[in-house]
């Protein structure tokens, strides 16, 4: 009897310990880890890499190897899927136009499986093994912070093409996504003016959510609003009962959602199911990036308001051509092309144009060309690289979810500068700057 009990006890403990180990391995993913880069990069022998190559036949000469790293599988694949598609499409488009410097691009992509350590590993692999001349990629801010030290060490140009919390200032890094001083600076005043001043912030609990919540505080204060509560939600939470109770206690006019990832989609559904939409309205700088409006029904996502530089509905010749190209490649029934996919297009085209202008693949020459203030006409309108800050000037539109799994654009601001980054970061005057500025600095 005693032995049976002991046996059972050890079964439970070993099960528990084994699970905790696995859980630790698994939860290192999802951007939850705050960029623990460590020296994992020494180990580049990952047998599980998927390597896809694309090369055009139009241009001649030796192909130029370029790299992209995304979470194509795992919890972040709601973003990774269309980002890698966008990267492939962009490189293909550049090759169709003759490549760069008369040579075709060969894109090497790696799937990090929603694990941040793999970003370090694959960035090293692209630098050392594949000898890529530029790396573009990363989704969560945690993943960007994993890549940044590696590319800085290897002196490889890095493009982070994603909406983020702003403030990164690093000579080696160019950031084409929209930042709070463009996005929240438009969205928060709009909400205060059109909905009401009382705001409640729900933010994903990692560097993106934490810093963006500071931004919401600042813009609310500057525009006569008031933040009555802020909740940080771990990325693996998919039950929002107590959040909904808190919202009902606080009765805000506006719920600012800085939620991220597949699990958090459940919030919008449970918010709608509890009938909260009747007296509060959700605004969000992240809703739609993972095609949340497709996963949710039109009734559930109704009235959710977002701000992005790109909506699939934008009526410009460049966008019509882009959407046609996308549909030709990935099917007419593709649900929706989100803003972050277009950021990839912008990143690759800015880089390609800079290389052409510099007439060289050398990092210094390309940085100089980019800092000279290049401009492209992308699907979302004109995008201009702001030389000193390494961020971009672009249009920002405010849109509301419509019945067709897309958005109606209700207000537009043209050529919005990344004002905070311009204030804090001048890499032409101080090329050695390397930090991330936050509004509380």
């Amino acid at each position: 009897m005693k032995t049976k009990a002991t046996q059972q006890r050890s079964t439970y403990w070993s099960a528990f310990v084994a699970f905790v180990v696995m859980a630790l391995v698994a939860t290192a993913c999802g951007g939850g880890g705050a960029g623990e880069t460590g020296d994992a990069g020494e180990d580049t022998a990952g047998g599980d890499t998927e390597q896809g190559t694309e090369g055009g036949g139009e241009a001649s000469g030796d192909p130029i190897v370029v790299g992209a790293i995304f979470d194509e599988t795992g919890g972040l694949n709601i973003y990774g899927e269309h980002k890698v598609k966008a990267a492939r499409l962009s490189v293909e488009a550049i090759n169709d136009e003759g490549g760069v410097l008369g040579r075709p691009l060969e894109l090497v992509t790696y799937d990090t499986q929603s694990t941040n350590e793999k970003y370090t590993q694959f960035a090293n692999q692209l630098a050392l093994q594949d000898q890529a001349v530029v790396i573009q990629g990363g989704i969560t801010s945690a993943s960007r912070e994993a890549v940044r030290p590696v590319v800085d060490r290897h002196e490889i140009l890095y493009f982070y093409n994603e909406q983020y919390e702003g403030g990164v200032c690093d000579r080696n890094v160019f950031l084409t996504g929209v930042v709070p001083s463009q996005q929240l600076a438009a969205l928060i005043p709009w909400a205060i003016e059109n909905v009401g001043p009382k705001m409640y912030v729900l933010a994903a609990d990692y560097n993106y959510g934490q810093i963006s919540a500071q931004w919401v505080d600042r813009y609310a204060e500057e525009n006569g609003g008031e933040v009555v509560g802020t909740d940080f939600i771990p990325l693996d939470v998919n039950e929002f009962g107590s959040t909904i109770n808190s919202l009902q206690s606080a009765q805000p006019d506006v719920v600012v959602s800085l939620l991220v990832g597949g699990e958090h989609i459940a919030f919008y559904r449970q918010f709608a199911a509890a009938g909260l939409g009747e007296n509060m309205r959700i605004v969000s700088p992240t809703f739609g990036l993972g095609n949340e409006q497709v996963v949710l029904g039109p009734d559930e996502a109704k009235d959710i308001t977002v701000a992005f530089p790109y909506f699939q509905e934008l009526d410009t010749p460049e966008n019509t051509e882009f959407v046609e190209r996308w549909h030709a490649e990935y099917g007419d029934d593709y649900p929706y092309i989100p803003d972050q996919a277009v950021d990839e297009w912008v990143g690759w085209h800015l880089w390609a144009q800079a290389v052409e202008e510099a007439g060289s693949l050398e990092r210094e020459d390309v940085i100089e060309a980019l800092e000279g203030g290049l401009s492209i006409d992308g699907p979302g309108g004109t995008v201009t690289m702001d030389g000193p800050s390494h961020h971009v000037v672009k249009d920002v539109h405010i849109g509301t979810v419509n019945d067709e799994g897309g958005f109606d654009v209700i207000e537009s601001q043209e050529q919005v500068p990344p004002s905070f980054e311009q204030e804090q970061c001048d890499l032409i005057a101080n090329p050695d700057l390397n930090e991330q500025f936050t509004p509380e600095d």
């Binding site: 439970y12 403990w13 696995m22 909740d231 940080f232 958090h264 459940a266 199911a273 996963v295």
Partner: protein, 288 residues
């Protein structure tokens, strides 16, 4: 605390407990009866949710869709048991690794088939309003479903011939074989039952979750905690653990934030397992 606030807290706590019961029950049966930990359990839930989603889209009533999901995932479970699990009986760590691998394959297979974002199922039944607060009507369905599932499992294991055989095969496998019980078949059926419960639970959760291929990962950790804290008795253990962990999580979340709620849940699980290494039901005499 005002009456409306207390009622809201009570209902969300009950919903939280019911969700834990729903997601943990299938895992508990498989673990309690067979000493197998199915780390692909979350993906079984996910498959259940997808089956329900496509059934509803094809015009099948939701209640029927839940049954279809249970049958489909149950059969899938039987196949997994035949192909994978039966070779690994008695090797706890190996089954954990094998089923974990299976979970990765399942997630990616669903991504390849359905894509990363599919249109989900809106929550039916509107909301129930009281004072300043409201809860979704569907959360009452979840509470009811948890009770029904517990009753069903109780009936299955105490009132049917299969239940008697399954318990015999668990408690005294050699004696069971001597009296002519085919423990292989019993194990296969038990794994199928556990999987079917996971399928039904996934279908029931589809209207409150984002139905995406990775949705299982959000449930597996909590389901696992519940099962381990519950201990060997499938019904009493799981119910007690769900009630305890759910109440801790919700109360702390309500008083502070979700972050501390999650932390409190984990701390409660660790402390309990330290004090009661065989789980809440470890010392109970009745093993159900």
């Amino acid at each position: 605390m005002a009456a409306d606030q207390a009622l809201a807290l009570a209902l969300t706590t009950l919903t939280g407990i019911s969700v834990l019961v729903l997601v943990a029950l299938g895992l508990a049966i498989i673990f309690g009866m067979m000493r197998i930990i199915n780390l692909a359990h979350g993906e079984f839930l996910m498959i259940g949710a997808f089956v329900a989603l496509y059934c509803v889209r094809a015009g099948v009533p939701f209640a029927v869709s839940v049954l279809v999901a249970a049958v489909v995932v149950g059969l899938f479970g039987v196949a997994v048991e035949r192909l994978l699990i039966q070779h690994l009986y008695g090797r706890l760590e190996d089954t954990m690794l094998a089923t974990w691998g299976l979970s990765l394959i399942m997630v990616q297979a669903v991504v390849l088939i359905f894509g990363a974002s599919t249109r989900g199922l809106p929550t039916p039944l509107g909301n129930v309003r009281f004072g300043r607060y409201s809860v979704s009507g569907y959360s009452l369905v979840l509470i009811g479903s948890a009770v029904v599932m517990l009753a069903l499992v109780f009936w299955l294991f105490t009132r049917t011939r299969y239940g008697t055989m399954a318990r015999a095969a668990m408690q005294l496998p050699e004696t069971a074989m001597i009296v002519g019980i085919n423990t292989r078949t019993v194990n296969m059926v038990t794994f199928g039952m556990g999987s079917a419960l996971a399928g039904a639970a996934g279908a029931l959760l589809a209207p409150v979750a984002g139905v995406v291929p990775s949705m299982g990962q959000g449930y597996i950790a909590r389901a696992f905690m519940t099962v381990i804290v519950g201990g060997p008795a499938v019904l009493t253990g799981t119910t007690a653990a769900a009630a305890l962990l759910g109440a801790v999580d919700r109360t702390v979340s309500f008083l502070s934030t979700q972050f501390y709620g999650q932390a409190a849940l984990l701390i409660a699980a660790i402390v309990l397992l330290r004090l009661m290494p065989t789980g809440l039901s470890g010392r109970m005499r009745r093993q159900l």
